[in-house]
Symmetry: C2
Subunit: 431 residues, 2 copies
């Protein structure tokens, strides 16, 4: 059997919260003005209370609201697929399974948290949400989610992407969102930057600062972040919880769990429900977070307190970071170009519960094309990092003869990233 | 329940062949050199024997080969979805269901026949297939299919699309196909046209002529067509057969069945299994084929013998046609820009078993955006024709209070057509 499906009623009804299971508690976010733990009161200007609670909850299981489950059911449960044609191509004894999140209308795993965040904000009467986006994966997911709860979405999109990659912008606008190229003349941060350099191409860090500034300045407006934070990782655990049920149906459990890692939510979404078993001691799989070698946050970053944005407007978080002023080189996996890493993932890496590898861009696209030509699906460049690592592990099994079970997260499709494939196929892509 | 799913083992094992059920036999294709019925012998230069047999078969049910079912299982069964949010938005008592074919890796229904055609060709030892493509929906589907059977795919792509819409080209190349801008200097037809006008932007008619010419000139090469022919419509019936099972699961039967119509295979795929019931007399639904008002083949074309291509290299077929020299205006639903219509659909229309409507482009995109903002999925411009007609019928039900069951084919997603949405949202789209 190739696809392993769940029925609608088998969608998990609770998210898994790893916070109470961590070997040591997470360090709290700090208020940059006082260097003291951030007061929940201050966070209320940005986030609804329900999400602030989830951010620090000690409940292991958190109910998914029925309204969220209802929207999830548009594309969830997502398929788990045995990559039998890829296995054959690699001539490996390994069994490769991938969880395919590209079936969501936005084409990635991001709506899992976008829908939840839009719901909790709407429930507390918030009418507007601001956010930032690079190439547009996250912005389009929040645009998709906002329309279901009558929330106006305003997206600060990195200016160079706004002009060079218009398609995800159009996707956001089709779903009714307002998209502004960042830096913009509408915020103090934006104005200051444009005064210094009217041609500033923008960055994720600047866009975050603008989105946060607008949310802080308006009573009816909150801010939404698509990765890094604990509540975002929480919402993504629906991926791993489904995958676990699906593997159970075929009597399997993974030896290796793999996900690409930018801010950490895609890797966390698949792996945390299996990390739970490792922390309990009932199972002992390996976990591999795969990052671009051009933005090696886990493998080369420091583990220390740092800002989430460039301008220093967010709380300080204890995490792996390349420094909040680090500007990653332009690579096609735009969703992985982030200087920091989710505190939960950083902690698990420090505790040696998970591993990380960094891989260069051309090797990623080689894997993506091999995958497309065997399994049929065109991976997003971000997701192709996980494909690369899965192939490498499967090739190792060919050497050793081990029949390992490899599970990875194919977090999105690449139909809006074909210009990157074009460059690769024409031999123009560099590392 | 929103999604109505089938399990893997519920994929239909046979296609439905309507030929023996038609009220009068189809007129045979004619050899343009003799004006006599085309000899199967001559067709063998282009098609494998199995497909030539299917083209005239009097067997009502034709087994789907296990090798084809195996590839189908990558994305089939496809979901049937109750459009409850669209119903609510329209405030209609109608029940709207859509069959969603956009979940295939190529993003449309086209792989249903591409996989079958690649299989039968490979089985008879064919090593290469040529075909034509406009915007690239069909070419990418055949590229996807070819890779599973070791068949080299060569696609003549209308030159203006080759340069202006590179993304589906990259998709084809990612799946290993060779893509040539048409008119090309590699065929006699292409050379002749380029001599007259080196800047000729190409057309589907020219591309067909080039693909056919190459297939006729090489022993190891056949030709493949993505719509119009009887065997193509046959393969697409898997759509309607699944939809029927899915509706049975919720105790429903459609009052109205709707599909967009270019060459006719998408409309036929959903509707023929229900037309069967109407011909038997057991049910009496309405059927609506929706075409662009700029290319109104059924509603304004003549029913007569005509060529399938511009240069007159194909057999003559009895069909609705705007004339083989008709050049449809450039619209965004490129897949519907064809001068002719499948002989089966033309016959059903003449016999008043099905109806047809023609709708202008801006009304189509209005419907597409309303759909995207309620159901979440971005429809392909072609598929949005069916959305438009479904909405119009649902609005009629609001007037009359009738609780009709409306079923339509959402044949593909529009993630590679976002420039068209951009033009619509910026008010730049005209009829």
């Amino acid at each position: 059997m190739k696809k392993i499906l769940l029925e609608d009623h088998e969608i998990p009804k609770q998210w898994y919260n790893i916070l109470p299971d961590l070997p040591s508690p997470l360090e709290p976010p700090l208020d940059p003005q006082t260097n003291q733990p951030m007061s929940p009161e201050k966070l209320k200007a940005l986030f609804p209370e329900a999400l602030i609670e989830q951010e620090v909850s000690d409940k292991r299981w958190i109910d998914i609201p029925p309204e969220v489950l209802d929207i999830y059911s548009i594309w969830r449960p997502t398929p788990l697929i045995r990559a039998d044609r890829l296995e054959e191509f690699l001539d490996t004894p390994a069994k490769i399974y991938y969880k395919y999140e590209g079936v969501s209308p936005a084409g990635s795993h991001k709506p899992n948290t976008a829908v939840a965040q839009a719901y909790y904000n709407a429930k507390e009467g918030v009418k507007r949400l601001t956010t930032e986006t690079g190439a547009g994966q996250w912005g389009s997911s929040l645009a998709f989610a906002g329309q279901y709860f009558g929330i106006e979405i305003k997206v600060y999109m990195v200016k160079v992407s706004y002009h060079q990659k218009p398609y995800r912008r159009v996707l956001m606008e089709t779903w009714g969102a307002k998209v502004i190229p960042s830096p913009s003349p509408y915020t103090e941060t934006g104005k200051r930057i444009l005064e210094e350099d009217p041609d500033n191409p923008g960055s994720l860090g600047i866009a975050i600062s603008e989105a946060v500034e607008e949310a802080l300045s308006r009573e009816d407006t909150h801010y939404s972040l698509g990765s890094v934070l604990n509540h975002v990782l929480l919402h993504q655990t629906v991926i791993g919880l489904e995958a676990k049920k699906q593997l159970e149906k075929v009597g399997q459990y993974p030896d290796i769990v793999i996900g690409s890692a930018g801010g950490g939510s895609n890797f966390a979404g698949l792996s945390l429900p299996f990390v739970m078993d490792k922390l309990e001691g009932s199972k002992n799989p390996r976990f591999i977070a795969v990052e671009p070698s051009s933005c090696p946050t886990l493998t080369k970053g420091r583990y220390e307190y740092d800002f989430g944005d460039t301008a220093g407007m967010t709380p300080l978080m204890k995490m792996h970071t390349l420094g909040h002023d680090f500007i990653p080189p332009s690579i096609h996996a735009g969703g992985l170009r982030y200087h920091g890493m989710a505190p939960i993932i950083s902690k698990l890496y420090e505790e040696k519960i998970i591993e990380a590898v960094a891989v260069p861009q051309t090797a990623i696209f080689k894997a993506a094309v091999d995958f497309a030509r065997t399994e049929g699906i065109i991976p997003a460049p971000e997701s192709a990092h996980a494909v690369r690592a899965a192939i490498d592990e499967a090739l190792r099994c060919r050497e050793t003869g081990e029949e390992k079970v490899i599970l990875f997260n194919l977090s999105g499709h690449g139909l809006l990233d074909l210009s990157a494939y074009q460059q690769y196929l024409e031999g123009k892509l560099t590392d």
